[in-house]
């Protein structure tokens, strides 16, 4: 994959996060009913739409964060392993976090 593809995805996820995190914050801070109570959380967790929304937030946030971290690591003027090793490690970490983070709500669904 060319660098431009990765950068385009970075911009797409940035725009996506703007709306998804915005929606998330509006629900959490401006909602009239208490959104962090057990009932509210479990109600959202059993909704297919909300589940998809949070998985999308996870995908966008993970890609954006891990790509940003990759950019910083690759630019650090210190001795480091080859870029492929760094890429592989970050992708593995990303997949592991994604799997763990998705397993819990899906198993509760």
């Amino acid at each position: 994959m060319r660098e431009s593809h990765l950068k385009i995805l970075q911009y797409v996820t940035a725009i996506g996060l703007f709306f998804i995190v915005g929606t998330h914050l509006i629900i959490m801070l401006l909602s009239s009913d208490e959104p962090t109570t057990w009932e509210s959380v479990s109600e959202r967790a059993t909704s297919g739409g909300w589940l998809a929304f949070y998985i999308l937030l996870l995908i966008f946030g993970l890609y954006h964060g891990i790509h940003g971290l990759r950019t910083i690591i690759l630019e650090l003027p210190i001795p480091k392993p080859p870029a492929k090793v760094i890429d592989g490690t970050l992708v593995t970490i990303g997949i592991a976090i994604f799997g763990y983070a998705v397993y819990i709500p899906i198993s509760a669904f």
């Binding site: 060319r2 660098e3 431009s4 593809h5 950068k7 385009i8 690759l74 630019e75 003027p77 870029a83």
Partner: protein
């Protein structure tokens, strides 16, 4: 007579372990440039001083140096403009030193060549044996004109903080010139340049510090060229770029003006 103190970097690989500073006193003359000072030192004080220069008028780009902590052309920098009697002259940062003030510009030219800084034409026959000139509108010319003023002096590369941290970064000079040719309507090699510039050490590594544009003695804005190259690359990948209309070949002239006769020899033959 007012005197200037030149603090000149000296370094001879093999003899010196690291560069050191030599202080030399030079009499100030009206309209004196830093290069004039170095020429005075070489001719009157120490003829072992090495520096590179040629045209003395800011055209050739040979005398790029680090003058009072800023990359400048020595011939294009009047000493009065520096506002001090102490002038520190060093070899350009981000380049290996060959000797004293002479920087090794090989990395610059390698990166420059890598991005094909020439017109790539799909019409090989017309490119090799042109039947006539290629027509170009004023707008098409203005889209790249400022970038064509680059004199390959390397000041932008020595000012760039990203080149300082990643020596493999293609840098503002090469990327700026890549855009210059991509924007040219006579060129058809943009796709190849996009691929070559789209590497880990390529167009996306620029942090838009703008130091290159500030340092350029010819008023070129390489930081802008890099942004335009990024946009062109993304548009090319997303297939949003408009098909560039190739520059048409002008009709060959149908009639020619009569040649002006060569004047007869007025000097008497021996």
């Amino acid at each position: 007579m007012r005197e200037l103190t030149f603090r000149v970097q000296r370094y001879l690989p093999g003899r010196d372990k690291k560069p050191y500073i030599q202080e030399l006193v030079v009499p100030l003359r009206e309209g004196m440039t830093v290069l004039d000072g170095l020429i005075y030192i070489k001719e009157n004080i120490d003829n072992t001083l090495s520096y590179r220069s040629s045209c003395r008028m800011g055209i050739c780009g040979s005398c790029g140096m680090f003058i009072n902590k800023f990359p400048r052309l020595a011939c294009h920098t009047p000493v009065e403009e520096l506002g001090t009697d102490k002038i520190e002259v060093k070899s350009m940062p981000n380049f290996p030193i060959i000797r004293d003030l002479v920087a090794d510009l090989e990395p610059l030219f390698e990166k420059h060549k890598f991005l094909r800084p020439y017109i790539v034409s799909s019409q090989m026959e017309e490119a090799e044996r042109p039947s006539s000139q290629l027509l170009q509108s004023r707008e098409a010319l203005e889209s790249y004109a400022q970038f064509s003023y680059c004199v390959k002096c390397g000041l932008c590369m020595s000012a760039c903080p990203t080149v300082a941290t990643d020596p493999l970064f293609l840098g503002p000079q090469a990327l700026g010139q890549a855009y210059r040719y991509c924007a040219d309507t006579r060129d058809t090699g943009a796709k190849e340049r996009f691929k070559e510039a789209d590497s880990r050490h390529g167009v996306w590594l620029c942090h838009l510090a703008g130091a290159c544009s500030e340092a350029c003695p010819k008023g070129v804005d390489p930081a802008l060229a890099i942004q335009l190259l990024r946009r062109a690359t993304v548009f090319d990948i997303l297939r949003l770029s408009k098909a560039k209309e190739p520059a048409p070949v002008a009709h060959p002239p149908t009639e020619s003006k009569p040649k002006i006769a060569v004047p007869e020899i007025t000097v008497k033959k021996p």
